[in-house]
Symmetry: C2
Subunit: 124 residues, 2 copies
DNA sequence: CGGCATCCTAGCCGATACTG
DNA sequence: CAGTATCGGCTAGGATGCCG
């Protein structure tokens, strides 16, 4: 990945496409879909705290990006399943790695913040 | 990383801490600092498009998180250098991996979006 | 040179209500 | 069950101007 070398500023462009990582729900949803297809409300229950609307929006965005596949069964009541595409699955793997990094550094991160804030406060 | 297994919803919590990765400038800055220390305006020039304020803010946040170290030389004119801590360096590595993923899937992503939008439009 | 303070806008995100 | 529509708050982030 030579275009990510320092000096190449492709990373500025690429970071635009990484913004969905920062949003609240993309990664949780993708990781939740890793084991297999899930129905809408099933997914909703599986991702605690998400609103119906954000689930819809995030799923649409993922579908648009070809990371998630939406399948509608025209039964009554309607049944809609979501599953990862192969690209989505590879993203999930990346997401888990990233989560692993955060998890293993979370303690240091928190400690560092506390120290920084304490120092800032004592200077007042 | 068992706590990232589907079924564990730690990922919801962790995703909170991933938000700063999704912001526009964190990754570009961290990657730019990979080769070694840089001065403020040097960094500013090296990261095209960043405003002075966002550079300041992002660097402060990185410093607070213990990812970047700030060193002031009390000369005239003042000189300030920023360099990655070891934790910052490991984040840079993660960032490059992530960037690599995006880069290698960017074409598919873009194509998928175009197809999705075209289909949505024809349905009007 | 290397900042900080202020103002402003766009878009994320949540809550609520309604539909096939 | 699986959405869509609407409203509104919060905040990331850009522009500008001042300071040591």
């Amino acid at each position: 990945m030579t275009s990510l070398d320092p000096g190449s500023h492709r990373c500025v462009e690429l970071s635009q496409h990484l913004r969905w990582i920062g949003d609240r729900w993309t990664l949780p949803i993708v990781v939740t879909l890793q084991p297999g297809a899930r129905r809408f409300n099933e997914l909703r229950r599986a991702v605690p705290g998400i609103s119906q609307q954000m689930l819809t929006r995030t799923l649409r965005a993922l579908e648009r990006d070809g990371l998630v596949c939406r399948e509608v069964y025209p039964t009554t009541p309607p049944k809609v399943e979501y599953r990862l595409t192969s690209m989505g699955a590879s993203l999930a793997a990346q997401g888990r790695e990233l989560g692993g990094w955060v998890e293993s550094h979370l303690a240091s991160l928190t400690a560092s913040r506390a120290a920084f804030d304490a120092k800032a406060e004592e200077e007042d």
